[in-house]
């Protein structure tokens, strides 16, 4: 459904050339739900903007829904759905009017466009809001309307650029429930960007990690966590003098590596935390080490990013929440 080869985008800024995307190779099969994950400025949005024909690549090629983005941008636009970071519906418009116009844009006659608008408003829990001005809708309602606009023509491929940013947890969950259901009903391929790690982890069948304009990892969330981060165990000794023995105990657990002592704790990476922790505790007790705290932790995608780059996505996400941006690099 998507195939890119060496997709590159450079911008000219006052300070010089900004290499926003540096030769991305990406394949997305029909029906997949792929999340592109990365910090602010990593090149996620610029990649989506290229794939949706909003900006032209500096070099490289991309086939989207069977058409070349440079040679057949009109065909690409007819075949895809797009939900951008902003509100796609005009604030002065009525919700239903925007849906009807969108339907007509994609070739429906007015009567069918009105039926389709009614269908989508029901499916996205927007009943009763048809004649409401977009500016009078709540943030969650506006976002669901944006999704409805992206789905008017039942596209086989839907791009979602940070669709849940700015929504509270309840509205985020509600939005995803609708998106996932509609995706199943329409057998849609979905490519989304997000900086919510839990979203990518829970929903995506594949996670593409992007940093500094490059793909640095591409696999299922489970595989990424298993191969790049792994489970961790952490045990604290009552007596600091026992820490060397405790470290040896933890290091002796089958599959343990990267054993480190920090403060009164010993931490190590293990193959499977729920299995490793009882083994370590039993061995510590056998050697007379009193353990006052023990924790087994399964990895998150943040651990994956930390392992790949030495930086935490969660911290960058928090910084971003304080100073939100609408686009990584202005086109």
């Amino acid at each position: 459904m998507i195939r890119t080869t060496g997709l590159t985008k450079d911008f000219t800024a006052k300070s010089g050339t900004v290499h926003a995307v540096r030769g991305i190779d990406l394949e997305v099969a029909p029906g997949e739900l792929v999340a592109v994950l990365g910090p602010n400025g990593a090149g996620k949005t610029t990649t989506i903007r290229m794939l949706t024909t909003l900006t032209a690549p500096t070099s490289g090629t991309a086939q989207v829904a069977g058409a070349d983005i440079a040679r057949e941008p009109g065909t690409v636009r007819r075949r895809i759905g797009y939900v951008g970071q902003g509100n796609g519906a005009g604030h002065a418009q009525r919700a239903v009017d925007e849906l009807v116009v969108q339907g007509v844009v994609y070739g429906l006659d007015r009567r069918d466009a009105r039926r389709r608008a009614a269908e989508l408003m029901t499916q996205l829990d927007l009943d009763g809001l048809a004649t409401r001005k977009v500016s009078d809708l709540s943030g969650g309602q506006r976002r669901r309307l944006d999704v409805a606009l992206g789905l008017v023509h039942a596209p086989r491929l839907l791009f979602l650029d940070e669709p849940s940013t700015g929504l509270d947890p309840h509205n985020r969950a509600n939005l995803w429930e609708h998106v996932l259901r509609l995706r199943q009903e329409h057998d849609m391929t979905v490519l989304l960007t997000t900086h919510y790690l839990d979203e990518a982890d829970a929903m995506a069948e594949r996670v593409v990690v992007v940093d500094d304009g490059r793909v640095i990892a591409d696999d299922t969330a489970t595989a990424l966590k298993h191969t790049l981060a792994g489970d961790r165990v952490r045990l604290a000794a009552a007596d600091p003098a026992d820490l060397p023995v405790l470290a040896a105990v933890v290091g002796g657990v089958p599959g343990a590596r990267d054993v480190a002592v920090a403060g009164d704790e010993v931490e190590a990476r293990v193959a499977d935390a729920p299995t490793a922790l009882p083994v370590a505790l039993a061995e510590a007790a056998a050697r007379g080490v009193r353990v006052v705290r023990a924790e087994g932790r399964q990895p998150t995608l943040d651990d994956v990013f930390l392992s790949l780059t030495g930086r935490s996505l969660r911290e960058e996400g928090a910084a971003r929440a304080e100073a939100p941006e609408t686009a990584e690099v202005a086109a």
């Binding site: 009109g74 007819r78 005009g90 994609y106 070739g107 039926r115 086109a331």
Partner: protein, 269 residues
């Protein structure tokens, strides 16, 4: 409740809509909120009348005898109509700026709508209120002795529409060009608006101004449109003044569309 399924009635999407169909669709989309909001419609229609009611008597009392032809209303009303067009269409880029900031413009760029049709549709939308305002002004002024040539009024409105599409397109081009610094839109628009307005002879006769001002006015396309409107309303339909006005309006429209479409294309490179 089971939602109705329409998927089977969705059309084959490989066929592009016509360019004119796209432009019409964009124009009606833009017009709909205006028509649904009676306050803005009424306020927009009344504005030129207020200006006419307050400025007209002052003009008659001060320079009435010096206006060409001596009939203040025949001279002033066409000027007010051009001013209404200029004010209405030159500020339309602000609407686009807002839609660029919210994301609606971006959403439309990813649809199959022809991008040039989006620009022309938006510019065309500005002409409907302008034509309505112009007709209202003409009707209101009839009891005050204003007696324009009917065919001239019709041709004058067409001329205003062509000119307005050009100014509207230039306004959109400006909005796209300065989208990263939106304050610049108003700075440029206001800086250009008043010299153009004064140097067109729209409000006061240029004939009484200094020579340098008349020379500068000769380079102002708006002056030719204003003169043509006055000639058309006076029934002088086949004059050279009208021809020059038509050329100025057509050139403004062509320039606006070329610059607008190019700016829009560049913004997605």
């Amino acid at each position: 409740m089971t939602a109705p399924t329409l998927t089977e009635t969705l059309p084959a999407r490989e066929t592009a809509r016509s360019w004119w169909g796209d432009a019409w669709l964009v124009m009606t989309r833009e017009l709909t909120p205006t028509l649904r909001d009676p306050f803005s419609v009424v306020f927009g229609l009344v504005q030129p009348l207020v200006f006419l009611g307050l400025f007209g008597p002052l003009l008659a009392g001060s320079v009435g005898a010096t206006v060409p032809g001596g009939d203040v209303w025949a001279w002033f009303v066409p000027g007010i109509l051009v001013m209404t067009t200029l004010f209405g269409t030159s500020t339309t880029g602000a609407n686009l700026l807002f839609e660029m900031q919210t994301g609606a413009h971006e959403r439309l760029l990813v649809t199959p709508l022809a991008r040039s049709a989006q620009l022309v549709g938006r510019a065309g939308k500005e002409m409907a209120p302008v034509v309505a305002q112009s007709l209202l002004v003409v009707l209101v002024m009839l009891p005050f002795g204003f007696a324009p040539h009917p065919l001239g009024v019709l041709a004058g409105l067409v001329l205003l529409a062509v000119f307005g599409v050009g100014v509207g397109s230039l306004s959109y081009a400006l909005a796209i060009a300065v989208r990263q610094q939106d304050w610049m839109f108003w700075a440029v628009q206001q800086t250009l608006l008043f010299p153009l307005l004064i140097l067109s002879g729209m409000l006061l006769p240029l004939e009484t101004g200094p020579r340098w001002m008349q020379v500068a006015a000769d380079a102002n396309p708006l002056r030719y449109v204003v003169d043509a409107e006055r000639a058309l309303f006076a029934g002088d339909l086949a004059s050279a003044t009208v021809a020059w006005g038509a050329v100025a309006a057509a050139l403004t429209a062509a320039l606006g569309l070329v610059v607008g479409v190019r700016t829009l294309s560049r913004s997605t490179r």
